[in-house]
């Protein structure tokens, strides 16, 4: 089971009118619909992933693994994101080197946090 977190607020710094959909929410819905066939992937539609200056944003955050954030995403990245989620799910530490990622995501890594692995291991 892997979770993809997607920010539905993006773009925080260019908010739409109250009755309009944000690009982040559009992306989240597209990814959620695409992931619906795959029971192993859950999509969490969240309010922010701290990647606001570089919308749209997604993250992988499994316990005991690196936290990976992506920025600058667009609907065309959907299948690459799902593929990366599977790679992440299969890796033991969650550290994704660029060459394990689909080409179009390589330049879109916005952050990688490894804190959590030693914390979890110590328990």
């Amino acid at each position: 089971m892997c979770r993809i977190f997607i920010c539905t607020t993006c773009n925080r710094y260019a908010p739409p009118r109250a009755d309009e959909t944000t690009p982040g929410l559009r992306l989240a819905r597209i990814v959620k619909a695409a992931a619906a066939q795959d029971k192993a992937i859950a999509v969490r539609m969240v309010e922010c992933l701290n990647t606001c200056p570089n919308p749209c944003a997604a993250a992988f955050r499994e316990p005991g693994k690196a936290v990976i954030r992506f920025g600058g995403l667009e609907p065309g990245d959907t299948s690459a994101l799902l593929a990366a989620a599977t790679t992440y799910a299969q890796s033991t530490d969650g550290i994704l080197s660029p060459n394990t990622l689909p080409e179009r995501l390589r330049s879109k890594i916005a952050g990688c946090i490894t804190l959590g692995i030693p914390e979890l291991a110590r328990r």
Partner: protein
Amino acid sequence: MARTLFTNTMIFEGTGKTLVPGEVLVQGNRIHSVAKPGETLPREGAQVVDAGGATLMPGMVNSHAHPTYNNGTSVAELTNLPVEEHVLLCMHTAKLNLDMGFTALIGAASAKPRLDIVIRNEINKGRIPGPRMLAGSPELTVTGGLADDNQLDAKHPSISIICDGPEEFRKTVRMLIREGVDVIKFNNSGDSFCYPRMAAYDNPMTDAEVAAICETANNIGKRLAAHAHADSSVRQCIKHGVEFIFHASFATDETIGMLERVKDKHYISPAIAARYNTTYEAKDWGITTDVAEMIGNKRELEEGIKVMIKMHKAGIKVLPFGDYGFAWLPHGTEARDLEHFVHLFGFEPWEALRAATAYGGEAWVGKSGEKMGRIADGYLADILLVDGNPLLDLSLLQDRHALLAIMKDGQFHKPFQGRVAQEQQIAAE
């Protein structure tokens, strides 16, 4: 009196280790009764909500909330907008909090003196949506302390009221209570957020000043909260009966032992996101991990984690959420703390949820005798229906689409439209 009967639910009671199937009857603004597995409750005169097996749990309580913070990038920036716009911003933030499943907030410092107060009053009158609120004061600080951003030749408005000496604090506390605050907040430690002026492990307040604040507030029955990273800050809080101790990052083992002996009197709020996110997720705003290390934020994070693990083991009540309202820990993302409590502090998921609900409710009501934060007879009807089991995946609570219904004070803020309906709505959108 209006009656709502929730059937076909899996109940997280607020203190239980597992979900238990059952029914819950709400009458007026309270939980009237809870049916155990196999029992049923009377249907007569009730709106029946068949929850389709969804989790029913208490609304969450943010015991360290800054609904007036504007997602700014520095302490001074948090109040850097005209009061008119600021009121509207707070109104939207209050609604967002309720949308995200927070049915009660404890104001932990207001960016301008009357903002928490007016928003609380409007919510209480039912004119705007929002959680139950205790209104916080601005941060009371000393000259040069956290949130005094002035220089001799340059004034910088910030989120504080600056006082020096017991008499100035006494007068300010009385003035704020006159205006209507519920919680007096003061800063008896520095912070990486005021680098290089004063480190988190330094305490600029004299004992006489802290005594004056606490005595004045206690005499009128108001609550107390302190920004207290330093060991001596935590000790002052114990000595003077400060109920809400924020951060406590540098508490020594001896101080943790002292706290353990009076653990029914205090709640600890590490506000972990102000450390974790600042250290690891703020680089888009110029705070790389190296910068976070230089200003001391990373050390606050690492020491704080060690302290919270010890406090949790000692049975001290450590509560999640806190300090949201900065650019890299914006409002609406508070529930991420629950996972940090599990992965960084060693909580079991049910313990993290207990802290978010039962303990948060107990903290909110204080000595009033009110009942909040559990699914039990006589408790206030602040209730969430969740699409899944949060004990298996706490991240459900970060996703507003997983909150199938939100009830506050017996009234639906978000009515239940069925589990399937929600899925269809997402697909159709």
